[in-house]
Assembly symmetry: C2
Homo-oligomer: 200 residues x 2
């Protein structure tokens, strides 16, 4: 039996090689679990990632579009942002959704937790579902240039399947929302609206 | 209308601040889309991430367990690994599954593409579904210490929902497999076996 509480890696030395307000990069000289020599670069994230799947009473999902410099391309996604230090992630979810789309929600529930890239980073994501939506005016922060659109849930899910929506929190969040609609975890009328619009 | 082909960021300067065989970290001085001054740290990944959801004829999914140093804890996940330069990701999927579980598969199909953490990294993940499984002997590489288990698909999916399986490729891959079973995208007998074992 494997002892799941025992760290099989040995760290010989560790140093901080880069940091900015979002990440800290650490370089380690290590012995691997099989005791070969190696190096390990770890990217620590200073903030939790938070995403929210906003689905309105007509079964439409709201997405925001923005340029993602690491990918060097535009990306349509669910509203997302980083939790400020000490901020409850459900507060982050409501704040980011309001800033990016203007929407306020009667109901916000956590639907997933994920480690986004656990071979290199410690980034943890919290994904929420927001329903009972009320429109409002977006107030993007002073670095953002965002677009906003709504589309039928089934069409958004189809964009996941064909690789047009590729952001991991959006992909997992939309698939989880489908699962919830199929298993009675959302209001039946809303589930019907979500599932009616396509062959999903 | 937003022009989705135009990069709204301006890079003033860029330098490589860290690299190892897996990642390159780049620091940029930038002007944001709203023309405020800022910095941007980007983590370039040298390899594609590849994951594979192996589901056997009895509707059981195969998972591997290992210690993840960035999280500083143990994690149960679908078989995963990095594509070697020039390697087709479907070849990576078969190779990693064989190394980590011994399994060979009659059928391997791509089911998802994801950008795992697109605010900071350019890491792209390819997720596959493997069916028609035949057992064999694992051959882990010389740095790995892995455990292997199989459990009913419904139980694995439930572990996603309660936050016991949190690896992003595993979370999205299992939810996508559920979607496929519900929409006639896997063999009906297999779909029945997958969905029979729990209330999913």
């Amino acid at each position: 039996m494997t002892d799941e509480t025992r760290d099989p890696w040995i760290t010989i030395s560790a140093k901080r090689v880069y940091e900015n307000p979002w990440i800290v990069v650490e370089h380690r000289e290590v012995l691997t679990p099989t005791r070969t020599q190696g190096v390990y670069g770890i990217v620590h994230f200073r903030k939790y990632a938070v995403g929210v799947v906003p689905i309105d009473d007509e079964g439409y999902v709201h997405l925001v579009g923005q340029w993602r410099p690491p990918l060097n391309r535009y990306s349509w996604e669910i509203p997302e942002g980083g939790a400020e230090p000490g901020e409850d992630t459900i507060v982050t979810a409501r704040r980011e959704m309001a800033e990016e789309t203007g929407l306020e929600a009667a109901n916000v529930v956590e639907i997933l937790r994920m480690d986004l890239s656990n071979s290199i980073t410690d980034e943890i994501a919290f994904v929420y579902l927001a329903t009972g939506l009320k429109p409002g005016k977006p107030t993007p922060d002073d670095t953002e240039e965002l677009a906003h659109k709504r589309l039928p849930f089934g069409e958004a899910l189809n964009q996941v399947l064909v690789g047009q929506i590729t952001d991991s929190m959006s992909v997992a969040g939309l698939l989880r929302a489908y699962h919830m609609a199929k298993t009675g975890q959302v209001d039946p009328t809303l589930a019907k609206a979500m599932l009616a619009q396509s062959s999903v």
